[in-house]
């Protein structure tokens, strides 16, 4: 590491330290803010540790909330990927499907996933199903879009080579078009996971009895910003973890892409 790079690293560390220090001084030492609007970092860390085992004040520990959110986000996301990706591929490959399915898809595309929450609650109740369906809708759209674009990037020359060697239509799809589309398919899968995670937080804020979104929404009602901040940090960490994991998978699965 060159000395210049090293000094930048120190600058980065310094910036975080100063940030936390200012927060600490303003809130915990000088008491510039009320604890009911912005608690200091010490309070937040204490709450975080307490919340790992305590169920007060919202009826579940942090891990139970995380588990509940993860379960719904994952099931909705998996459904979105399993249904959305093949549909996108089929739409891009078969003209007939494109002609008839595309307009319907374009109809639901501009509606953000979380706008469906109230409708799904009315249709399926406030249980798991309504949330899974909402998460599914918000994961489904990026999967279709990206796999569609991915297939469309297949080079004509590659298809001609396939035809020359007598590949059938289905063989050309599986051997040429699908591998070409994989990087974009994976992008879609990653975007979908982010969207699912956002959507589940929103759904839990509106109607739920458990989950991270429910936790921060309840904490707002009783003026406990320390719990809100804990929840937000947890949501952020899990979101970052997701995208890191999927990038790892992407690197393993997809070969021959320059990064």
């Amino acid at each position: 590491m060159s000395s210049k790079k090293k000094s930048y690293l120190w600058l980065s560390i310094l910036s975080i330290v100063v940030f936390v220090l200012v927060w600490y001084l303003a809130c915990d030492v000088l008491k510039l803010t009320k604890p009911s609007t912005l608690p200091g970092p010490v309070t937040v860390v204490k709450t975080f540790i307490a919340k790992l085992t305590s169920t007060a004040p919202d009826g579940a520990t942090l891990f139970q909330h995380i588990g509940s959110s993860l379960q719904i986000a994952m099931s909705g996301w998996a459904m979105g990927v399993v249904i959305g990706t093949p549909l996108g591929i089929a739409m891009a490959w078969y003209k007939k499907i494109d002609l008839y399915a595309r307009p319907l898809f374009d109809l639901i595309r501009p509606v953000p996933g979380l706008a469906w929450i109230p409708l799904m609650i009315l249709l399926f109740g406030i249980g798991l199903t309504s949330k899974i369906v909402t998460v599914f809708l918000s994961a489904f759209v990026p999967c279709v879009l990206n796999s569609y674009t991915g297939i469309r990037q297949t080079k004509d020359v590659h298809l001609w080579v396939g035809q020359t060697f007598g590949a059938s239509d289905f063989q050309m799809l599986m051997k040429i078009a699908v591998p070409t589309s994989l990087p974009l398919v994976m992008t879609g899968v990653r975007v979908a996971l982010g969207a699912s995670w956002t959507c589940i937080v929103a759904a839990e804020m509106l109607a739920s009895t458990k989950g991270l979104g429910y936790m921060i929404q309840q904490a707002r009602g009783i003026y406990r910003p320390d719990i809100i901040i804990c929840g937000m940090i947890t949501i952020g960490i899990i979101g970052a973890l997701f995208s890191w994991l999927l990038t790892l998978v992407e690197r393993k699965v997809i070969k021959g892409v320059k990064r």
């Binding site: 910036s15 975080i16 009911s36 595309r102 109809l107 509106l206």
Partner: protein
């Protein structure tokens, strides 16, 4: 683009297929509502379209549907303009000056993975239930998307261009204004495109959590009063405006950077 796209099919046939598929879909929906158990909780498209037009003259709550849309748009625009202005500046600074990057990147990376929606409760605690809390959330939504793209845009500048300019005697400031700024414009527009979409989704969420007007409020009021048709009207409004915003951004991009319209 592959040879298998819709190039060979006339525009006329495409529109024809679209009309048929949407019409069939609406028919199935209407029939399902009329003749099966779905009708107990769901309303048909005819009713939805009817209420949509009725609500243009007869208000839902205090405002007509256009006024709700205007309310939501005004929130989005305020947050979006501030967020994108700051985001472009910060992103370019971070991309061009390494010390700036070292200074702001860590804090930005801590905030970035938190979805803007998760800020709703905290912003209500900080700014109350009025307009400022919504501006703040939308500001965050726009800001994080645009900063990232502006940053990537500066980093993606062709180093050969910079080298050539320097060789011809351009100073740092000239390199920055004549090469770096113009070449990151397409990236910034990609960021603006993402930001307007996520801002719109975020305003709907914010209004569903706490508001007394706006399209998100129309949807959540529909749920509170068990009125599926009002929810659907809200969803239709959200969809139309979301679509219009995306088209508008693409049009502005095509006008402003005609030299670099990505093939979409």
């Amino acid at each position: 683009m592959t040879g298998r796209n819709l190039k060979g099919i006339s525009k006329y046939k495409k529109i024809y297929a679209a009309v048929i598929s949407i019409f069939v879909f609406l028919c199935i929906w209407q029939l399902a509502v009329m003749f099966t158990d779905v009708g107990i909780v769901m309303v048909g498209p005819i009713e939805v379209i009817k209420l949509f037009f009725v609500s243009m003259v007869k208000p839902i709550g205090h405002d007509t549907i256009q006024m709700h849309i205007v309310w939501s748009l005004s929130r989005v625009m305020t947050g979006f303009v501030i967020g994108s202005a700051l985001g472009v500046v910060l992103g370019i600074l971070m991309g061009w000056f390494r010390p700036m990057n070292a200074l702001f990147r860590p804090i930005y990376e801590i905030i970035r993975p938190i979805p803007p929606i998760a800020w709703i409760p905290l912003s209500i605690v900080w700014f109350g239930i009025g307009e400022p809390s919504k501006y703040f959330i939308i500001f965050l939504a726009a800001f994080s998307a645009i900063t990232m793209n502006a940053f990537a845009g500066v980093r993606a500048v062709d180093p050969e261009l910079i080298g050539a300019a320097r060789m011809l005697g351009a100073n740092n400031r000239q390199v920055f204004t004549t090469i770096v700024l113009p070449s990151c414009v397409p990236h910034i527009f990609a960021g603006l495109q993402i930001a307007i979409g996520s801002s719109w989704a975020t305003v709907v969420a914010a209004e569903m959590v706490r508001a007394s007007q706006g399209v998100g409020w129309v949807i959540i009021r529909g749920q509170d009063s068990n009125s599926t048709v009002q929810i659907m009207v809200g969803i239709v409004a959200v969809g139309i405006v979301g679509f219009a915003l995306a088209v508008l951004m693409r049009w502005i991009e095509a006008k402003l950077c005609a030299w670099n319209v990505r093939g979409r």
